[in-house]
Chain length 397, copies 2
């Protein structure tokens, strides 16, 4: 059965639908078990439950932040009694300070931490190569994502999952780029400013600001947190050349893991050096080109040939890392991995800068001007906006 | 001997002094060895040297960024000859494409990657407890750090090493906080804005904006990159209570590593959950409370009781993590670790938000107002500014 959530008993702003009903609860030494009407069950530790009590004494009704501290109850706190109420809530009477807690069944099910439930909650990236992206490239119309929250949400989920999207018919006369970015949140400022103008400049402090070819790279690998989303809005493109090339770094990483495991290991464990020196700044960062999470999945790519500094790793690993880095760069040059696109005025490429490498061919200004405008928004802001938009979707379900 | 660097042959903006002279060079299969006049020697792999060639063909003279790509030469590239020139440069003639490279001896010595040289380059934090910080708290005068670059550099090195500093006599009438922060770089924007006003507000969306006690915490553990430096500038403090308490999280972590190794392991490997939900944002992050680097050193602390979400880890580890978290929080409450300070108007506390936990006691507005202004600047910007300031120091040496 599905029942619209009773928002009033929730601490946060996210509503929870009741999809399964709790039938009964049984208790063990360190945890209790809820038995759901679909035959599944969920274990919840007493400490975990006590920690997540949402009563007005434990959570500020003003800020919705927790006031209670879990170190103020005994480590072996237990339920004196645990029951399912007529309103399908889990009610727990604690054996310490006579405290009582009430839990919403939709919230409990959504936060079940069984191995199966945790696996189901994972959102996996849709990894692509030339063939896949040529069929599935997510294309969104500027007017729709600006006006409709449902379209905005679809676009942002595509960005999260594919790491690349093309927004079309973006106004080139005003401040459209800023407006699009601010549909998500504020813009991430860097030493290149908030909005940056990608065109050939007389005193270029970056290869981006010349007419030269840029090999496949992520932006600002010199920063501890590389910018999450990169926006590149084409205002004018009358120059010859300058085509954009994008490659899913996760695809190359998976290819390496499968076919060149030693190179994969080197790139995911040994630190590259990234330097960006200018008159008034001197950014440096050392870290692996492939960042993996605790499960071994690649969650980030960090690479820009023209922003590398001298390797600073143990001497006996220098050759391994060079060998692996060369392999990665050679793979990025293969057409089977590349999405190739010549930006037209009004096109806006938005991509995950910590996953998708981008490049451009050299261009020649004899035929006309080339002018892109760019900015960054971080991954935190993308995911936050998706969650907020999903709140109203859930309410409407 | 010390000789002022010849800046003209350097790619970057950092000058390198010649401290040791290269006496001779010998070659092996994969690397060459420079023998210095102090008896030391440095090995440099051919790939590494070729990669770091600074000639105008390899590095753009305009942007000072590398154009050459190391995957365009053979993996087994070798020096056909390697010599020390009359100007004490290392000169290498390559066995591929007749390329020739020249290296500055100061730059080579500074980038030697022998185990010993790498160890010597490490900058270790000065870890403190109540006793140490009561004697060594770095105090800096507002007027000095604003006017003198040498004082600015001393302040920033203190911030980097101690993770805490007090700036005194900061003007409370204008926009002094912004001016101080911008002595480093631009301010990091968050969903709380660029400058935030810490005072009791009617519709508080954070416990910070109430009169309530705040337990020891880092700010915004809900973000993938917690803000690096936190600035808290006291404009008015006529309320009773509201004293500030700061604790070096690295000290607590080291104490746990030594006395409670299982708790240390749990906190440094199991993910905590951090949630910050508001009407228009919904930030969440999962990660360990203690972040360690590849050598096992603690490099970051991430903790705020009032911003925690439900633990989402394997069921058989829930008790371990709660036990460890409780231990950590109990330790932060011990006076022997705490720096205690009542902020006066004009005081500006600046501290490493990813290392030093801060708290404040509840306050009562019957006696008068309490108003702090705050902002964040990231660690990348701090380190960049230190490097830029050190360039001119080196030139003056």
């Amino acid at each position: 059965m599905t029942q619209t959530a009773d928002v009033s008993d929730l601490v946060g702003f996210t509503p929870y639908n009741i999809v399964e009903l709790p039938l009964s609860v049984s208790t063990a030494d360190e945890y209790l078990t809820i038995h759901w009407d679909n035959g599944q069950s969920s274990d919840f530790h007493y400490l975990w439950l006590r920690d997540n009590c949402t009563c007005a004494e434990c959570v500020s009704t003003l800020t919705r932040e927790q006031m209670f501290e879990i170190c103020d109850v005994p480590l072996d706190i237990k339920a004196k009694s645990a029951t399912i109420t007529n309103q399908n809530r889990l009610s727990v009477q604690w054996d310490f300070e006579s405290h009582q807690s009430l839990y919403h069944p939709g919230w409990l099910k959504a936060h079940c931490y069984s191995e199966e439930a945790r696996e189901q909650r994972k959102i996996l990236p849709k990894i692509w190569d030339k063939q896949l992206i040529s069929q599935q490239l997510p294309v969104h119309a500027f007017s729709k994502i600006m006006q409709q929250d449902a379209d905005l949400l679809t676009w942002l989920r595509d960005l999260r999952d594919y790491g690349i999207t093309l927004v079309t018919a973006v106004d080139t006369t005003g401040s459209a780029l800023k407006s699009v970015a601010e549909r998500i949140a504020f813009i991430r400022e860097t030493n290149f400013g908030t909005l940056f103008e990608v065109k050939a400049k007389p005193n270029a402090n970056s290869t981006a600001y010349t007419t030269l070819r840029l090999p496949l790279h992520t932006d600002l690998p010199t920063r501890e947190l590389q910018p999450g989303l990169q926006f590149l809005h084409c205002l004018v493109n009358d120059a010859s050349g300058g085509e954009s090339i994008l490659v899913d770094g996760f695809k190359i990483a998976e290819h390496m893991r499968q076919h060149h495991p030693d190179d994969f290991k080197a790139l995911s464990t040994l630190s590259m050096s990234f330097y960006n020196k200018d008159k008034d700044s001197d950014y440096r960062f050392k870290g692996p080109a492939l960042v993996t999470d605790s499960s071994g999945a690649v969650v980030e790519v960090r690479l820009a040939n023209f922003l590398r500094g001298p390797l600073d790793i143990p001497a006996d690993q220098v050759t391994s890392l060079y060998s692996a880095y060369r392999r990665f760069m050679q793979l990025t040059r293969e057409a089977r991995f590349q999405y190739f696109h010549r930006l037209n005025a009004g096109d806006l490429l938005v991509f995950d800068n910590r996953r998708v490498l981008h490049a451009r061919n050299a261009f020649d200004l004899k035929q006309g001007e080339r002018h892109l405008q760019g900015c960054y928004v971080d991954r935190d802001e993308l995911l936050s906006r998706i969650r907020v938009l999903e709140r109203s979707c859930k309410l409407g379900e």
